[in-house]
Amino acid sequence: MRIQNVIESKLKQDLQPVYLEVINESGNHNVPPGSESHFKVVIVSDAFMDKMPVARHRMINRILAEELQNSIHALALHTYTPTEWDEVSSHVPASPPCQGGGNK
C-alpha cells in the first residue's frame, strides 16, 4: 500500500477525524519523482479536545511511529478540534460582493 494511504487509514482508524487531508509534498523537495517522503496532514478531530499542541502531535507521531521510522522524512501537522476548525475557516476572507459595476 502507498504510504499516503497508510497514513490516511491509520489516522482515520485511531482518531475518527471529521476532516482529514493528507498531502504528499515530496515534489517540493530534493527527492526523486514519485517519492513519498514529505507529507502534510490537516486533521480535525474531537480527540484533540483539551490537549496542548505537543500532546496532539505526539498522538499522531505514535500512530505513525513505524512510518516515521522507516519512510517518512518530514511530517507537517496541523491539528484542530471541530470548534477551532470553524474559527480557522471563518478567517478565510470572503470574496467582495458585487458593487454593480457590470451595469446590466
Binding site: V54, R58, N61, Q69, L75, A76, L77
Partner: protein, 110 residues
Amino acid sequence: MDVMERIDQAVKNNAVVLFMKGTPQMPQCGFSSRAAQALMACGKEFAHVNVLMDPEIFENLPRYADWPTFPQLYINGELIGGCDITLELYQKGELQKMVAEAVDGQTAEG
C-alpha cells in the same frame, strides 16, 4: 559525557534552545529555517544546536523527548514542539510572550 546528559544540559542551561538542521544564519532544512525565523522575530537571544554537526545528538534527540523530527524547540526545559507548533504560536502572538518571559525571567534571577 553521555549524549543524553549533553542534550539535557543544552535543554536545561538555556532558557530558549532550538535543535535544528544548520544554523539560524544558514539553515539547511526548510522546517528548521522557518522555526529559526520565527524565533529571531521574537527579538530575544536564543541558543541553537546544529544537529547536523553532532551525529550523536541527531541520533538520540528523538528518543530524549519522544519526538521523532527536527527542529525541536525547548523553552524553560520543556519541549514546545517542532516547526508547525512554533509557527502556530508565533502567529497567535504567544511565542513572543513565552520567549520574552523565559529570557527576561532568567536575567532577573541571574
